[in-house]
């Protein structure tokens, strides 16, 4: 904030000759309030009308705990797998030149553009016991669909672009001189990549991981078809919310939704902290 003006009077807005501040900010706030904030406040209000013991008994219900564990567990594994392969794909896309690179680069965004229900039925067609890929595993008595493995595969699909698109721009900006310096000082290629380059990418990798993880925890459409939705085995938390709603158990749905919201806001906060920390340290987000 500029404090060159003599008066240190608090003001909402710095002076400007550009018109429309009141109109655009007013409209934005009103729309934000109507569409996002009031409905969310309604959820919080509903949750706060539950007594603490009611809230706890819903959350410590075995089925709720199992669903939360499955959601967070599969999202964690999928995000970790995506971090490893996502960074590798970034490296290939940024550093190497090969025919079809542009096409593959564009393909990475497919999970952003493909409706989740479409991804869901396609994945279950592939991994069902009689599906294209599932059939190979059936003789070995390995089931992919209708187990947490299937959920993880769906979340890998959904989460990949978050990692790639977060890490890629930062990787593109790496100064080649850093690598040259490392090589001059006697580091071999392996050491240069793992001790010099990857640490500077760590904030971006962590952000990508957190985004993929947060999306995975809340994901619904691509998971419900492949999950089989067996309580205690492959029932995810968002689905349990839907089930509670269909039972008209609004208290149950609200309590599960609230705990998921709290956790995703905590994730959002962590992402912002990582980004502001890395801006201070590396000069990029």
């Amino acid at each position: 904030m500029t404090s060159t003006t003599a008066s240190t009077r608090w003001r909402l807005k710095e002076p400007s000759i550009i018109p429309g501040f009141g109109l655009t900010l007013g409209f934005s706030l009103a729309y934000l309030g109507l569409i996002i904030l009031i409905p969310l406040a309604g959820l919080i209000f509903r949750a706060s009308s539950l007594s603490a013991s009611e809230f706890l008994s819903i959350l410590t219900d075995e089925r709720t705990l199992a669903a939360l564990k499955i959601s967070f567990g599969t999202a964690l594994i999928a995000a970790l797998i995506n971090v490893v392969f996502g960074v590798l794909i970034c490296w290939v896309l940024v550093r190497y030149d090969f025919p079809g690179r542009r096409l593959i680069d564009a393909m990475v965004d497919l999970p952003f553009a493909l409706p989740t229900a479409v991804a869901g039925i396609a994945l279950s067609a592939l991994y069902a016991p009689k599906g294209w890929i599932g059939a190979w595993f059936t003789p070995f008595d390995i089931r992919i669909a209708y187990t947490p493995i299937g959920i993880t595969i769906a979340l890998i699909f959904i989460g990949l672009p978050f990692v790639v698109r977060t890490v890629q721009p930062v990787m593109e900006e790496i100064d080649r001189e850093v690598e040259e310096a490392a090589a001059t000082l006697g580091a071999n290629r392996f050491q240069t990549v793992f001790k010099v380059l990857l640490p500077s990418l760590l904030p971006a990798i962590m952000t990508g991981f957190a985004l993929a993880f947060a999306r995975g925890v809340g994901e619904y459409g691509s998971v419900v078809f492949i999950a089989g939705n067996i309580p205690y085995v492959s029932e995810i938390a968002p689905l349990l919310i839907v089930i509670r709603l269909e039972e008209f158990n609004y208290a149950g749905a609200t309590a599960i939704a609230t705990i998921m919201l709290v956790i995703s806001f905590a994730m959002l906060l962590i992402i912002n902290l990582i980004q502001s920390w890395s801006r201070g340290r590396y000069g990029h987000g």
């Binding site: 550009i18 409706p115 229900a117 698109r165 995703s264 959002l268």
Partner: protein, 285 residues
Amino acid sequence: MADRGTRFVNPVDERTGTKIVLTSIGGLYLAFFLFLPLVAVFIEAFRKGAASYWEALVEPDAAAAIRLTLLVAAIAVPLNLVFGVAAAWAIAKFEFKGKAFLITLIDLPFSISPVISGLVYVLLFGSHSVLGPILKSYGIEILFAVPGIVLATVFVTFPFVARELIPLMQDQGSGDEEAALSLGASGWQTFWYVTLPNIKWGLLYGVLLCNARAMGEFGAVSVVSGHIRGLTNTMPLHVEILYNEYNMAAAFAVASLLAALALVTLALKTLLEIRFGAGNAGGRH
């Protein structure tokens, strides 16, 4: 190039063998997790031939679902477009207190599970809520009707346009607008003739992503729609119903339309990025 006998190894590059291995791993990962599901959609869609494919798309319930999806997108996208432009104008052209917080709030829907996005409207407008019965007594139905579907879609696609325009307009600064204003242009003239031409490609990019998500949204819409065939079923919901009825060919036929939409979106998006450098990638959506 390497001399015969002494092999030159570039110290800041990988050996060709390593490159081939890394590229293959990345390529296989993408082929397996992204490309294969996409191919599966189209192959499954045409499994019973072109005639039954066509039939699945023109039967009345499918046609109604397609019409509803187009209607919902036609309402939700312009609303979020107007909001996105207004919010970006306020945020990019002015300095005011609480700006960073406002940006965080705009991003909020990205970190909320789609199921919860639907749930908040069920709690707000459901038959047990305060608002629901009042509106119903005036003959206004929100839940399990088109307005609820539109609201849920607006919620989940809320940040897309704003997210695209804010960084773009911040980069462009206010110099052009200040010049126009000092030469006597009115506020609206400045916006139409100066700002809009500057941001049109970024705007198109945001609208494209917003539209793809609006037409493909599943979780949020599923919670509020009530799944009334021919009335409140959007295309993704229609896909789900057909799939659960084991009408696979028809489910994949409708899904293939959505997949085609995703491919067109990706193609246009890539084109915009190549031609105009729109969209500065960085883990969003």
